[in-house]
């Protein structure tokens, strides 16, 4: 895949992802397992993240979003591809250098419960980043910082001595967020950070994230299924499908001028918090089976469920670039989209 063309603005990307691939081996048999294939969880994903920007990533569940996140954190070893942080390929780092990078890239995990050590109190969990990176907060300060963080994510500081299992799902998620914020990192990878929160707390958290972004010029990668919240917070949005990036652009480009059929289907399915609109809404119903990431379709991966699919789609893999039809045109539809037959289609926009 060609390097994505430099965006018009001259900012240096803080994170550059190039051709990231992650395959999980699929095995069969109980004792003597043999590999019978691979789940191609991430199969050649490239994108840039700029300083102070929020990149939203949406997509079908199981399309590899979390895997991308874990790859960015070097929590999984990539099958191939590179991740450059300020020009340095972090997939090859280890030891002290890696620790330094990790101080600057933090992650909020998707599963709020399993990512909290059941034997540590909330205070210890949130305080741990300070213990690991003592330079961030002097010892005397730490307790106060922990309480501030609890407060910030809307948790009662009185809960500081409680254990994770004593919290509700949403509360646990907030603990995870507090931990992610603790170090004031440059980049935070948020894997569905607010999915279990009620909208009010969600609003608090999103507000906080935005405030922090303004203050410290943070960059976020924001993975979520809630398209309206993604739209609210993101500067740019990437749409993934089956291990690949289907479409990427600014929030307006994606939400208002989607050119990839999958994006269009996705947007049309967004439920509207208004019971009056319950009926009569046009929804693109995707037919056909969801393909297995172990055995993705040839050519365009979406073609098995696409209403526009033609022979070409099975033969040729569409590249992620500005589609031919829109090339050179000054229209919001002229953004990267991996479809042979990209076209605009009016869908009921989210929110």
């Amino acid at each position: 895949m060609a390097e994505p063309a430099k965006q018009s603005d001259q900012r240096e990307p803080i994170l550059q992802v190039r051709n990231l691939v992650k395959h999980f081996p699929l095995t069969q048999g109980i004792l003597l397992k043999r590999q019978i294939g691979a789940v191609k969880a991430v199969d050649g994903v490239s994108f840039d993240l700029y300083q102070g920007e929020t990149l939203g990533i949406v997509g079908e569940s199981g399309c590899g979003k979390s895997t991308v996140a874990r790859l960015l954190m070097t929590l999984e070893t990539a099958t191939s591809g590179e991740v450059f942080y300020k020009g340095q390929d972090i997939t090859k780092l280890s030891g002290r250098a890696l620790k330094a990078v990790r101080r600057n890239i933090q992650m909020v995990f998707q599963d709020p419960y399993t990512s909290l050590n059941p034997r540590m109190t909330v205070g210890d969990i949130i305080g741990e980043p300070f213990e690991i990176h003592p330079e961030v907060a002097p010892k005397g300060d730490r307790r106060k910082r922990v309480q501030e963080l609890l407060d910030v994510v809307g948790l009662n500081p009185e809960y500081i001595n409680r254990y994770p299992h004593q919290f509700s799902g949403g509360q646990r998620q907030r603990i995870g967020i507090a931990r992610g914020l603790a170090l004031n990192p440059e980049i935070i990878v948020c894997d569905e950070p607010v999915s279990a929160l009620d909208v009010s707390v969600q609003a608090q958290v999103i507000n906080l994230m935005e405030k922090l972004q303004d203050e410290f010029n943070l960059s976020y990668i924001f993975i979520a299924h809630d398209l309206s919240i993604v739209r609210h917070i993101s500067d740019r949005v990437g749409v993934m499908y089956l291990g690949k990036m289907a479409e990427i652009g600014t929030d307006a480009q994606i939400y208002e001028h989607p050119t990839h059929p999958y994006t269009q289907a996705l947007l049309s399915a967004v439920p509207v918090p208004d019971p009056e609109k319950r009926e009569g809404r046009e929804r693109i119903i995707l037919t056909g089976d969801v393909p297995s990431p172990a055995n993705p379709p040839s050519g365009c991966r979406f073609r098995t469920r696409c209403w526009k699919a033609q022979d070409k789609c099975a033969e040729e893999m569409p590249v992620l670039a500005i589609p031919e039809v829109f090339k050179g045109k000054d229209t919001p539809a002229a953004h990267d989209s991996a479809c042979h037959f990209a076209e605009e289609k009016q869908v009921v926009g989210a929110a």
Partner: protein
């Protein structure tokens, strides 16, 4: 659609009058407590709601307000100790299941009532393949053979749109993505086509297309089997799409009940109002989202009076002293609104103001 239940305090004329068949599930004045080192945490303080067959009740509310705990109490799977049901009734088909012996209650779980758990990864047993865990329902409750049960499992996985179900039926939970696990939980709950499903945030980890499919599927089942559904969720979009009626919880109590259309139009409780206003809106892009100020209450020290009073823009002295009851809500002209109730001293101002 039926009327919404009355609060525990007020006698229910419906049951007294023998108006019609009893609701599928009726929770009355449920109290649940947890013993903690620092004292007793009152997670649920007199929750009452009911669901009928074929009906969808959405339970909304602050996270930590006791939605899951109520659901667990209904299923009879509270962590006890430290948790215990401190009072109230749970009537299923009119019978108080809290009084049933454990062996009887067990027989209800699965074929009669099922639950979709909030946290799919920890709720699935890590050491058994998903096929095994799904098939178990059929093997145990219907005495199916291993082979048939597996076939059924594949069928269920197909039904919740897990790609390549046949190949992945022998995979283990950790090998699935968050959304897929959630769908497996859903499949498990649906397996025996129970009378009642309690879905605790079933779609939070799903993308909207799958979410739509799953909700459609639940709706279809519901129609087909005349099943009752309690849907616990934060996604007001989903609620709007599928719910018949809504109960809003705050600090272990129901603060407002309403049919789905009404609530969005005219909330009768400041908390509900705050919630609705917090929904991100296109025209707010770039601005701060509205959020209810303040912190959720500490369950060990629930504020006196209305639990919401420290955060409420409308709070008065009475709110700090008297606990507001869940009372029927009426139009300005006094006509009672069917199925609506609010536990706010100033509901009138809220709904009409």
């Amino acid at each position: 659609m039926t009327t919404i239940e009355k609060t525990a305090g007020t006698p229910d004329p419906a049951t007294g009058g023998g108006k019609k068949s009893v609701p599928l599930l009726e929770v009355r004045d449920l109290h649940v407590e947890f013993k903690t080192r620092d004292g007793v945490a009152k997670a649920v303080n007199g929750v009452s709601y009911s669901v009928d067959s074929g009906e969808t009740l959405a339970v909304l509310g602050e996270s930590g307000s006791g939605k899951s705990v109520t659901a667990q109490a209904i299923m009879g799977i509270l962590d006890s100790p430290p948790g215990r049901v401190a009072g109230g009734e749970i009537r299923f088909h009119g019978e108080d299941i809290l009084k049933l012996p454990e062996s009887e209650r067990r027989k209800l779980r699965g074929p009669k009532m099922a639950m979709i758990f909030q946290d799919a990864l920890s709720a699935l047993n890590p050491v058994f393949s998903v096929g095994n865990q799904l098939g178990e329902m059929f093997r145990v409750h219907q005495g199916m053979s291993k082979k048939d049960a597996k076939a059924k499992a594949i069928e269920l996985m197909d039904r919740v749109r897990i790609p390549a179900a046949k190949e992945r039926v022998n995979d283990y939970p950790h090998q699935f993505s968050g959304g897929m696990r959630q769908r497996i939980m859903i499949a498990m709950a649906m397996a025996l086509e129970p009378d009642l499903i309690i879905a605790d945030e079933p779609t939070t980890a799903l993308d909207v297309t799958v979410q739509a499919q799953v909700m459609d599927l639940l709706a279809e089942l519901q129609r087909e089997l005349n099943m009752g559904l309690i849907l616990i969720t934060h996604d007001l979009g989903v609620v709007a799409d599928v719910a018949d009626k809504i109960a809003v919880m705050y600090a272990g109590r129901i603060v407002e009940t309403a049919p789905v259309h009404e609530l969005y139009k005219r909330p009768a409780h400041p908390y509900t109002r705050g919630l609705l206003e917090s929904i991100p809106r296109l025209d707010h892009k770039g601005q701060e989202l509205y959020a209810i100020k303040g912190l959720p209450p500490n369950l060990l020290h629930i504020p006196t009076g209305c639990a919401f009073n420290p955060r409420c823009p409308k709070a008065q002295d009475v709110c700090r002293t008297d606990i507001p009851e869940l009372l029927p809500v009426a139009e300005q002209d006094g006509t009672e609104l069917d199925g609506r109730g609010s536990a706010c001293h100033f509901w009138k101002e809220t709904i009409h103001g």
